[in-house]
């Protein structure tokens, strides 16, 4: 989780990722931000994120992102 928070901070600094639950709904992460995040997550956690995963439920908070990463790791 620490590593994920670092990635998020690196991509879009100045957001309280530990508590924010509306990264997509409030347009904090736009399409470009999402793609940068996907690329970094894939490299850091060795998972493959498909277009089907690019939904608000998975990207709205650090917590939901972490759950997605754990699920994808479990599926491999």
């Amino acid at each position: 989780m620490e590593e994920l928070l670092e990635i998020l901070e690196d991509i879009q600094p100045g957001v309280d990722y530990a508590s924010c639950k509306t990264l997509i709904d409030d347009h904090i992460l736009d399409s470009f931000g999402i793609l940068s995040l996907v690329s970094e997550i894939e490299d850091a956690f060795d998972v493959e994120i498909s277009p089907a995963e690019l939904v608000a439920e998975n990207f709205n908070s650090a917590d939901s992102l972490w759950k997605m990463i754990c699920r994808l790791k479990g599926e491999e």
Binding site: S31, F32, L35, S36, V38, S39, E42, I49, S50, P51, A52, L54, V55
Partner: protein
């Protein structure tokens, strides 16, 4: 029987509502399907066979993908491969119909022109195809449905009636919005009774749409046609006036039609997705497209932008760039490749004409520039102590957006690419504002037209500004005392009846997006 005609909102729609309401709940979906097919038949006659075939194909492809996924023999990769093949077949079959019917002549003519450049004497004779209404819209809905089933985010529908309801719902068949399966099918199939509030709010929304369409947009239409079809001997100021009028006409007509469509859906309890969200209050070209024709934008985002960005070759290219130039450069590779595909498709989707392809590429370049300059501009503004929230900066930003939109729509409406460039040259090279003022009454709008259109645009602007601040006029009015409420709605109806551009002297104006 387009949506803005009396035949639709005063005859067809009430008859469907009545029939829907009087039949037992379990048969109401059949009334909607019958209404859908009658509506389609009235425009396209026998071409309804395209819609029926597309519905059957969509239904079977969905089930085929689901069955393939269930036959999981432990080899997940093999199953995914098989599912992908079925999806590719489904998309290709539907796109083939769209491409053949809409683009054969364009591609044939373009090939013929290209061969002439190499002195090859082959001329494309042209083929005449009849195109069913809504083809471009329901094809995208089909792609959305079968892709979602493939991705596993949607279960394949085993009730063909729901697939038929999703693809043919009469209020949205002509101009969208491009809905997702879960947004319409289940609600339409459920056949809940028409609620008084839905009926009231639905018809109020229809009235607002009629105001935009027949009081303002149709009034401006003759001026737009006159200037765009005969711009050669006109001053740049008149051409610019024509472009401004076209932007107003296009927005008011398309968003007005969406009001009628969404209002019609609301009557049956269906919450169709919004297609516009005050686009002219956007801060950039990119944001403008997140507020204009929203459902087309989200379709392209979900089914082209993300899949292209995450495609293996694109990701590999981004990794290579990252190794060589670092993350600050590589982060643009995937989005730019995907953005190019999105805008090429956006341009082509609007029609088989080079003006539309140019329009798509125009926005691709602008949004690409916006993306790569966003950070440097932010830093520069900080360095120069420019307050980006100041009134002055906001005015600059709005003026920039208007210029971008005006130039884009000029090419969108121009009769050819050559005409578009000639008009643009006219605006910049031969501009005398006095020419516009001295000819203003000779541009197919008389004094009353100018006053009504101008006042109408002000009303729409004020309502839009209030909506941006989450102030809903309809909700406000519904809280008034009964006499005040009745006076308001009576006045609104009278406004449309008195100032609507119809009757003798006016030609019925077709819906622009129904042609796409």
């Amino acid at each position: 029987m387009a949506y803005h005609t009396i035949a639709y909102f005063a005859v067809f729609l009430p008859v469907v509502i009545l029939l829907y309401q009087i039949v037992p709940k379990k048969f109401r979906f059949a009334v909607i399907i019958a209404a859908d097919y009658v509506f389609f038949w009235l425009f396209s006659g026998k071409l309804i066979v395209y819609l029926i075939c597309a519905t059957l194909l969509t239904y079977f492809i969905g089930i085929w993908i689901e069955r393939t996924a269930l036959k999981n023999d432990g080899d997940k990769k093999n199953v995914t491969k098989k599912k992908r093949r079925i999806l590719a077949f489904g998309i290709a079959a539907n796109l083939l119909v769209l491409v053949v019917l809409k683009y054969t002549n364009f591609f044939g003519q373009s090939l013929s022109d290209l061969l002439h450049l190499f002195n090859v004497d082959w001329t494309f004779g042209g083929v005449k195809f009849m195109v069913p209404i809504g083809l471009s819209f329901y094809t995208l809905e089909i792609i959305s449905y079968i892709t979602d089933v493939y991705r596993g985010t949607l279960k394949a529908e085993h009730n063909i009636a729901k697939v038929a309801l999703y693809l043919s719902f009469f209020p949205q068949i002509m101009e969208g919005p491009i809905a997702r399966f879960h947004e319409t099918a289940d609600t339409l199939y459920a056949g809940e009774s028409v609620k008084f509030d839905n009926l009231k709010f639905g018809y109020q929304r229809i009235l607002w749409g009629l105001f935009k369409k027949i009081v303002i947009a149709d009034r401006i239409y003759p001026t737009v046609n006159y200037i765009f079809n005969d711009y050669a001997d006109k001053d740049g100021s008149i051409i610019l006036f024509g472009v401004v009028c076209y932007v107003a006409q296009l927005y008011l007509e398309f968003s007005g039609c969406m009001d009628i469509v969404i209002g019609s859906g609301q009557i049956f309890g269906v919450k169709l997705p919004e297609n516009f969200r005050q686009p002219f209050l956007a801060k950039s070209a990119g944001e403008f497209w997140r507020r204009w024709h929203i459902t087309l934008g989200t379709f392209f985002k979900d089914y082209i932008f993300y899949p292209v960005s995450l495609a293996g070759p694109v990701k590999n290219a981004a990794k290579k760039v990252k190794k060589r130039f670092g993350r600050n450069v590589s982060k643009f590779v995937a989005p730019t490749a995907a953005l190019f595909c999105v805008w090429a498709c956006n341009g082509l989707w609007h029609g088989a004409n080079w003006t539309f392809i140019f329009y798509g590429m125009y926005y691709f370049v602008l949004i690409f520039i916006e993306n790569i300059t966003e950070e440097p501009v932010k830093k520069l503004a900080e360095k120069l102590h420019i307050n980006r929230e100041s009134i002055g900066y906001k005015i600059f930003r709005t003026a920039k957006l208007f210029i971008i939109v005006l130039v884009g729509e000029l090419f969108f409406r121009a009769n050819s690419l050559k005409d578009g460039f000639a008009m643009l040259a006219g605006i910049f090279g031969n501009f005398h504002i006095s020419a516009l003022f001295s000819n203003i009454h000779r541009l197919k709008m008389d004094r009353l037209d100018l006053i009504v259109a101008g006042a109408g645009i002000i009303i729409v602007t004020v309502v839009g500004a209030l909506k941006e601040k989450n102030i809903d006029i309809r909700q406000k009015v519904s809280g008034w005392v009964v006499p005040a409420r009745w006076i308001f709605w009576y006045a609104a109806i009278m406004l449309v009846v008195i100032f609507g551009a119809y009757g003798s002297g006016y030609t019925a104006v077709d819906l622009i997006y129904a042609g796409y």
